[in-house]
Every structure is written in C-alpha cells, then in structure tokens.
C-alpha cells in the first residue's frame, strides 16, 4: 500500500502535467513580480516574489485580502525535482532525443546557478574620487553599527553589529568589548535638520553630531532612486554600572561620504557656505570616546566589505554626445595595489570592460552626477563564485535546442522531398 502510494507520488513528481502546471505558475509569478516593482521597487519585489518560497499577493491594493502564491524558490526547486524525476523515470538515450536531453541538462545548470548566485553572491559599491585609495567597498542599503578601537595607531580593531540586530530596546555586547550598547531609539529611515544654539529643548545626545542636528524618523521608501537612511540613539553602558551611560546618535548621514556631500550641496543653497562647512564638519568628525583607558569610535555606517587589496583612482573620464547630455562613454583609470601580486598595475574600467581580480569583479556603474567636474567614480563590486554557471548553462541549452531543431528540420525535409507522402503527420517532438 505504502509502496503503491510512493509510486504514485513519484509518478506525479515525474509527470508532464506537473511540468505544465509549474510553467504556468512561473508565468503568473514573473508577471506579478514585474507589476509588483511599480509599487515595491525592484529590490523589495525581488525579495518577496523571487527570493522566497511563498508570496502573499494582494490582488486589490486597497483590500487586505492576500492570496498566497508559490514564489521563486518553491517553483525553481519544484521544476528541478520534476525535471530530475522525469529523467530518472523515462531516461533512455537515443540520438533522436539527444538535443532535448542536453537542453534539460542546461536548464538544470541554470536553475542551480541562479540559486547559488542568490545564496552566495554579494554586491557592493566603491566610491572613489580622483587620488583616493580604498581597500573596502560598501553595501548600497545594508548598514552596520561599527565600534572601532583606535587606541593603537595604525592597528584599528573593528567590531560590527549588522543593522538587523539594532532594534529599540536591544542590548548589544561582544566578548572583546569592555562595554554594552543599549539601543534607545532606532528608525529604518530618517531625516535630519540643523540645530542652532537657540533651538529649544535638549539635544538627542550631549556630544558629536547631535549637538548640531536633530534626527527624526521617516516612512521607509522603496523607489528605485531613493534610499533609506536609518538612525539610532545608542547608550554605551558599563556592565558594572560604575560609570553613567554615554549617549550617542549614529547615522549614515555622518558616516557615508556620498550622503554628506549631498547634504552639503542642499545646505549650501539654503544656509550659505560658512554655516554649511561648520555643520558638515561636525558630520564628518568621527565620534570618539574613552572607556577603560581605551579610545573608541562609534558609527552607523554602510556595511563594509574589505577586499584584501586596494584600488586607487587615477582619473575619471566622462564623455557626452556633442550638444547633448547623453552619456557616450565613462571610464575610470585605477591602480591596483595588491601585495600578493607584487608591483601595482594600472587598469581602465569602463562599460562592458570590468576588472576581475581575486574573486571580485569591478564594474563601471556610475559617477557623482551632481559634481560639475565629474571627478568621482562609482564602481560596482560583485563577488559571485558561481558566475560561470549560467555561461555553461546557456551554451548547453543553446546547443541542445539547435541540435533538436536541426534533427526535426532534416527529418522534415527528407520527408518533404519524398513525393509519395501526401499526408505526413506533424513531426513528432519527443
């Protein structure tokens, strides 16, 4: 009885009807996943519809009646299982079907490759102004709370907490830290406004950026061209309780160079140059304190990915089509410093010509568009150990489909050229 049920289950898993049903559901998912991007933005829609097992799709945006749909991981895995089971059940090699076999092997490669990419790949950004050198890239939306022990010059010790652990009321600790961090306030998106000497009320913290700015929570955004900038109020607490807590406001508004520059530009128009440089100076200054005779810095900063080598931007070039603002070409000339390789070398990174080095790929992604001199480049840094899988997958599927197509075509023209075959049945596919 059990054996019978198992056979039936296996037959179901291997059935062509299941294939068709899965393909149909995939079409529905991809369609809704595309529509979802209009309201959710690309990133969020991708997380919900494709990088998950189930998605609660809301047919009418004003009515909270969600319909559960199988999402990307579920459909991908099911297709994989279906394909493997079908091959296991019916696999019999004939030359006539070699193309179809190859096609399916390639599709398996593509599915597995995409899954691996989702699991292992990271994307980050490297922003460099001419003359600058950096050995880390930064996440575009993820941030981290970093405590840097700067007591020994030239040998910083960094301890980071990912943003996901920062919640109001949370307490963060680490064996290598002599203190605890108590999160008093946190918002995933925020705004800041300058605070003058005559502003009423207490500042949000006694020192650092809070003396010049007040931070307030904002609704989170999903639009493609805007981002969330969190802020948090954190107490540095003595576990023994012998010293009173030391309060700090932390936010990427202070630690992220690109954000600081955009703030500077918008303030300069409203407040004039002198006031602006005083304000931005406060933002740029590291927030530093001592505890147990050691010096620490505290910052909520874009997640850093240290690369083990350094890139120096020598020059950035941006050409437009004559008489228009349409970009024609942009490229960065960089110098790669890697002790493992030896002498530094110089490379041009431009559209469709990335730099691949030590498992990382640097792509020319953009530039600081607000800078009239265009001296700041933005490189996208991708680490994807499975980047070759789709290349193999495509080649295999392409060859498989072409082979199968040619087999049919040859068979068809042979039959066509035979005069005594007036009504030939349509070419048998599989």
């Amino acid at each position: 009885m059990v054996a019978h049920m198992l056979v039936r289950a296996f037959n179901f898993l291997a059935s062509l009807r299941l294939t068709v049903a899965l393909l149909a559901m995939s079409i529905v998912l991809v369609f809704f996943g595309t529509l979802g991007q209009v309201n959710l933005g690309l990133y969020e829609a991708q997380e919900r519809y494709f990088k998950s097992w189930l998605v609660l799709w809301q047919p009418v945006s004003s009515l909270p009646i969600p319909v559960p749909l199988p999402a990307g991981y579920l459909l991908g895995t099911s297709l994989l299982v279906n394909l493997l089971a079908a091959h296991f059940k019916r696999f019999k090699f004939t030359w006539k079907k070699s193309g179809i076999l190859l096609t399916h092997v390639g599709i398996i490669l593509l599915l597995v490759g995409q899954l691996a990419t989702d699991m292992f790949a990271t994307e980050s950004y490297l922003r460099l102004t001419e003359g600058q050198t950096r050995n880390y890239s930064e996440g575009q939306r993820e941030t981290e709370l970093a405590i840097v022990d700067v007591t020994d010059a030239g040998n910083d010790k960094v301890i980071v907490f990912p943003e996901s652990r920062i919640q109001r009321g949370a307490t963060l600790s680490h064996p290598n830290l002599p203190f605890r961090l108590g999160v008093k306030e946190y918002a995933a998106n925020s705004d800041l406004r300058p605070r003058g000497p005559q502003s009423g009320g207490e500042p949000q913290a006694p020192a650092g950026i809070a003396t010049r700015f007040t931070f307030s929570p904002e609704a989170t955004t999903a639009a493609m061209n805007s981002r969330n900038v969190p802020f948090a109020i954190v107490d540095v607490e003595d576990p023994q309780g012998s010293t009173p807590p030391n309060r700090w406001v932390v936010s990427p508004y202070a630690s992220d160079e690109a954000l600081r520059i955009s703030i500077e530009r918008s303030f300069r128009r409203k407040l004039g140059p002198e006031m602006t440089s005083a304000l931005v100076g406060t933002l740029a200054r590291p927030q530093e304190f001592s505890f147990a005779n050691r010096r620490f810095q505290i910052a909520l900063r874009p997640t850093r990915y240290y690369t083990g080598h350094a890139l120096e931007l020598l020059s950035f070039k941006h050409d437009k089509y004559i008489g228009t603002d349409k970009p024609k070409d942009f490229r960065s000339r960089v110098r790669l410093h890697d002790p493992a390789v030896g002498r530094p070398r110089e490379i041009d990174i431009y559209m469709n010509n990335p730099l691949r080095h030590a498992g990382l790929t640097y792509f020319q992604a953009g530039f600081d568009e607000m800078d009239p001199n265009a001296r700041t480049t933005i490189l996208q840094v991708v680490q994807n150990p499975s980047w070759l899988a789709p290349y193999f997958g495509c080649v295999v599927v392409g060859v498989g489909m072409t082979v199968q197509f040619l087999i049919h075509l040859v068979a068809f023209s042979v039959r066509k050229s035979r005069p005594a075959a007036p009504s030939v049945p349509a070419p048998a596919a599989a």
Partner: protein
C-alpha cells in the same frame, strides 16, 4: 492570366522608381538647402532630417499643410521660413493641440470655424505666444514621475517642448527679428579689436575707450541667448581634420573671435571669477575672424528676406560646394539620408504589403494561382525595399538593426516577412504570404506612430553602446518576438477562417498546424538564446546575470509560454484546436514583453515610454481573448469550415501527431 503577376510586379517597380525623381523647386532651392549637413541630437544629419523631426514633434506630420494657401510645404521649406522669414511663418498654424482642456486654458478656438480660418486643431505661433507664461506654469505643475502624467500633463509638456523647439529654430541662424544681418556682422567684426583693446586698458588701469567697449559688449549681449540655448550645430569645424566635436552652433561661432560668454557674464556681474581667471579670459579675448559660414548663412537669410531667389540659390550651392571640398563624407552621408527621407521606403512597403495581403486572401476563396503569384511577387518587392531601408539605417547609424523601440518594430516586420517567404517556398498555399504581409503592415504602422516622437536614428546611451551585444542579444530576442507573433497570427488565421468561413480545408488546417508547431520551436529557440545572451551582457556590464528587470521578465515569460505550449502538446493535453488557441495567447504575451514592460516606466529598459500605447495594448489583448473565446466556445464540429469539409473517416485530422505516452524527456 498566366503572366498577369509579371505585369503587377512591373507596375509596382515602376511606381517605386517614379518616387526616386528628386523634387525640383521652382523658386527657392529648398531641397538643396535640406542637404546641408549639421549636428543635432549628437549625430550628423542633413538639415532635411532636422526639419522633419522638428515639425513632427510640433505638428505630428513631416510636412506643413497650409489650408489658407491650399498647399503643402515640405518640412525644410517650413523650417527655412521660421528661421528667415518669421513674420510669415509665425502666422502659419503649425502647432497641433488636441486636448480640449488645454485649448480652453489657453483660450484657443475649440472647433472648426471656416470664417476665421480655424480648424480647431492647429494654431500659430502668434496665437500661442501670449500664453507662453501660462504654458510654462502649467508644465511646472506636472508631476516629475512620467508614469503619473495625466493626458492633460502630457499635452502641456508636449506643447512646451514644441514651443521650445520653435523658439530654437527662430534663433538658429541669427537673433530673432533681425534685418540685414550681414551688415550687422560686419559692424560687429569691426568693433572687436577696439573693444578688446579697451578691455585690456581698463584691466591694466590705463585710460580706455568706453564707447568702444560698450559697443562690442552690446553686440555680445545680443548674441548671448544664442550661445546659451540648445541649437543645431550648423557651423562646420574650421579644418576637416578636426574631430566631429568641433561643429558649432551659430551662437558659439559668434563668440569665437572676440569676447567669450564667460567673460561677458563676468562683466555683466553674473559670474564670480577669480582675478587670475578674469585676467586670463581678457588675455585670451582674441581679435580673430568670424567663421565664414556665419556670414554665408546671414547672406542667405538676407537674400531670402528680400526675395532674391537667384542669390539665395547660388549661396546655397556655394555653401554645399565649399563644404564638399573638405567635408565630402559628411555631405555624402547627409544627401543619402535625404534621399532616404524623400523616398519614405517604409510607407512604400506598407502599401505593397496591403495589396499583397488582398491578393493572398483572394487566393483562398478563388484558388486562382495568379493571385498567389502576384502576392508573392509584391511581397518580394516590398521585402527588398524593406531590407534596403533597414540596411540604409544601419549604415547611417553604424549600428546593428535594432537600437530602439522604433527599429524593433521595423525589424519584427522584416523578420515576419522573411519567415512568411520561407514558409511559402515550402507550402505554396499563400498562408506564409498573408501572415507575413499582415504582420509587416501592422508593425510598420506601430513604427510610424513611434516615429512621431522625433529622431529615430538617435544616439545610444553609453551602457547600450556595444555593437556586439546589440547585434546578438537584441537581434535574436527581436527575432523571437517576430516568430512568436508569426505563430500567433497563423493560429489566428486557423480560428478565424475555421469559425467564420469555408476556406479552412482539411489540408490547410493540417498545414497550418505543422507551420505553427515548427515556428513555435524556432520561437522558443530564438527567445531563449536571445534572453540568455542578454543575461550574459548584463553579467559583463554590471555583474548580474539576471536582475528581474521588467524587460528581462517579459522575455522570460515568452520563453516560458512557448515552452508550456510545447510541453502541453507533447503530453497530449491539447489537440489541434488547443494548440492554436494557446498560440494566439502568445500574441498577448509578446505584446506585453515588447510594449507593456516599457509602459511601467521602471527598470533599465524603459527607454520608450508612451502611454497612448497602453490603450492600444489593452485593445489588442482584448481582441485576442475574444478570438480565443470564440474558438473555445464554438464546438469544432460547428465551425463553418468543418461543417463544409468534415474530416475524412480514418484520418484523425484534429489530433496532431503525438506520442500516446507523454515523454518529454
């Protein structure tokens, strides 16, 4: 009757060749003027193209119909008039406005009114100029996000753009409302040395000639708007060896010999230069000569204004000759493009495709072979014109065939005709001809509507600027669209002819099924390979094989849909009718991918945003659904064709060959 198709083909060729006669101008040499090269939108083009695209954006037409004079002005003639004789041009009703609220807002005539010469659609610059401020204010109110624009917003923005273009045209050759510009130029040239000397004296604290300084600065101030506005670059570089980037607008050429615009703005107190920069600019202020072309155009304008036809024509010829000695390639390119514009190859092929379709449809009802042969001959001729035009565009752009939405429409049509001719060479039953010609006609209509947006040979954004990937990914994906549509239209033919006519014989039904199947296989192959090549391009460009971008997703849906149809058939889950009905669904899926994804206004591929297309898309999808429903609801035995030609006993015509057991592996 046997040779009739040769006569029909010959007539078509004669018709095409007759269009090659260059138009002759009885008076002013407008056509020759249209050949003059200039740089606009980042590309070299003849004045003719610039004028056509400008008028297209203002009036939705490439020519200007003047109902008062009862004649049609070619775009170049209209543009020359705007530049040189604004008093006449400004009274012509060149601006098309359709939105009633906008007409109301600007207090324009709502309806046709013969007596006052109003047609309720077209308005002149003179009528619109008093509302300039109003248009600006209304345009400011439109939301920034293009996907949130109402029809009114779009109408206002379109009008603002049109008025901007018109104002640009007015100031292309000389400041507006100028008479006798040659004399003014001579006076300006003469004022430069004394003016610059005065500036230098003033800088070094010596006594200086105030009048000389003010004299030259007044000229410069008058020319400043010309240098700061967007305008076609009509003045060629001084030396042919200089790169293309050295083409200038008249506004820049006017400032070349004397005082730079920056220095002028500093003197007007609008710039905040350091002392060193200021000193440098004064030292650099040359005492050179004006580019001769500026004077040449000024003389042309003067001759035109005074009605001296012979002088104008001679000046235009001289300008072309002068350029020809140093800019031979540019002139050749510009004049080829003008020939292409005049010939309007896609319009011509459109006409031929329609006639060919009528012939092939006639074949199914009369079975006289001459109709099929005529259709075939006409489609071959149209296909040659279509291909030649495609190749000309590629040569002009220096790019593979598909670079924007417009060219994708052209290419989908071309691919369909190719497929149709291929099928016809195998089956000879006019099905390939009919389907190919219908699709080509439809896509050329789509292309024509897309061309209303302006220049279709525009330059490409940096990311897309890789010929290898354009030639592979884009071309193959577009072929996939072509093939999926082709299969879908074959299936439409099956259902429409089957349900509504007697034309679908058993043989034809079988043939159609086999064609649909074969083309579906090809469509799956092309869409898959094309989509995946796009992935590889994305991985090369920004390290992401698949980014779930709307356009990528659209292509993926086509692949999935085609794969679904093939698997359903292999599994024997549908029979002949089901196969056709599903294949019609491919039309909807392909239209979504081709157009629908662009309408979302998000993602990397949203390069062709237009929401008028939205309603067309919905309407098209609706017709497809209606036909699918008709094919589904009416039992096949009651289809008119199957009542007329019932399946012969023993042949299972409705079941396409399929293996009894599903074996997709």
């Amino acid at each position: 009757m046997k040779r009739l198709h040769w006569f029909i083909a010959a007539a078509a060729v004669v018709w095409l060749l007759s269009a090659f006669r260059a138009p002759r101008d009885p008076g002013f040499a407008y056509h020759e003027f249209g050949r003059l090269p200039l740089v606009f939108n980042g590309r070299l083009q003849p004045f003719d193209s610039f004028a056509r695209n400008t008028l297209l954006q203002i009036r939705n037409k490439q020519s200007m119909r003047d109902s008062a004079e009862k004649r049609t002005l070619p775009a170049t003639e209209w543009a020359v008039e705007v530049m040189m004789k604004p008093d006449v041009a400004n009274a012509r009703k060149a601006f098309r406005i359709d939105h009633p609220d906008l007409k109301g807002q600007l207090k324009l005539a709502m309806d046709a009114d013969e007596k006052n010469g109003e047609d309720g659609k077209h308005y002149s610059w003179n009528q619109l100029l008093p509302s300039w401020q109003e248009v600006q204010e209304q345009a400011e109110k439109a939301p920034e996000d293009a996907s949130k624009h109402s029809a009114y917003d779009r109408a206002v923005l379109k009008l603002r753009n049109a008025m901007g273009l018109y104002a640009m045209l007015q100031a292309t050759l000389q400041p507006p409302r100028t008479t006798n510009f040659p004399a003014e130029l001579a006076a300006y040239q003469a004022s430069i040395p004394a003016g610059v000397t005065a500036l230098r004296d003033r800088l070094s604290g010596r006594p200086f000639d105030t009048n000389a300084m003010i004299n030259v600065l007044e000229y410069c101030q008058r020319y400043l708007p010309l240098s700061s506005m967007r305008a076609p670059l009509i003045i060629p570089p001084h030396h042919p060896e200089l790169p293309r980037d050295q083409w200038m607008k008249v506004g820049d050429a006017l400032f070349e010999p004397g005082i730079s615009p920056r220095l002028l703005r500093q003197l007007m107190g609008e710039e905040d230069l350091s002392n060193a920069d200021y000193r440098d600019l004064i030292t650099q202020a040359g005492t050179g000569k004006l580019h001769p072309a500026v004077g040449q155009f000024a003389s042309m304008t003067d001759a035109y204004q005074k009605g001296r036809v012979a002088d104008f024509n001679q000046l235009v010829s001289r300008q072309l000759q002068d350029l020809g000695s140093t800019f031979g390639t540019e002139i050749t390119k510009a004049s080829r493009e003008q020939v292409y514009n005049d010939f309007a190859p896609f319009m011509k092929s459109m006409v031929l495709y329609v006639v060919a379709f009528l012939f092939s449809a006639a074949f199914w009802f009369t079975f006289s072979d001459w109709t099929r042969r005529s259709a075939s001959a006409l489609i071959w001729i149209a296909f040659i014109v279509h291909s030649a035009a495609l190749i000309t565009r590629m040569w002009l752009e220096g790019r593979p065939p598909v670079t924007n939405l417009y060219s994708s429409a052209i290419f989908i049509g071309w691919g369909s005709v190719g497929l149709g001719l291929l099928l016809e060479s195998i089956w000879k039953n006019a099905i390939g001809l009919a389907t190919g010609s219908v699709l080509a006609f439809a896509t050329l209509i789509v292309a024509h509507n897309l061309s209303l947006g302006g220049d279709t040979l525009e330059m490409m954004q940096a990311v897309l600027d890789t010929n290898f990937w354009l030639a592979t990914h884009v071309v193959i994906v577009t072929l996939g669209y072509s093939a999926t549509y082709f299969a879908g239209f074959l299936a439409l033919l099956y259902v429409v002819l089957g349900v509504g006519t007697r034309a679908l014989t058993q043989d034809m039904a079988r043939g159609l099924t086999r064609m649909v199947y074969g083309i579906l296989c090809f469509a799956t192959l092309a869409s898959f390979v094309g989509t995946v090549l796009g992935g590889i391009w994305a991985d090369q460009s920004w390290g992401r094989f698949w980014g779930w971008d709307p356009k990528e997703n659209g292509a993926l849906i086509i692949v999935l849909w085609n794969a679904l149809i093939l698997h359903v058939r292999w599994g024997g889950m549908v029979k002949e009718r089901g196969l056709h009905l599903l294949t019609i669904g491919g039309n909807i899926v392909t239209s979504w991918s081709w157009f629908g994804t662009n309408l979302l206004g998000i993602g990397l591929h949203s390069y062709g945003f237009m929401s008028a297309a939205f309603w067309w898309l919905i309407a098209f999808a609706a017709t497809q659904l209606v036909i699918i429903a008709a094919g589904l609801i009416v039992p096949q035995a009651s289809w008119i064709s199957f009542r007329t030609h019932p399946p012969a006993p023993g042949t299972n015509s409705r079941v396409p060959s399929k293996s009894p057991t599903p074996q997709s592996a």
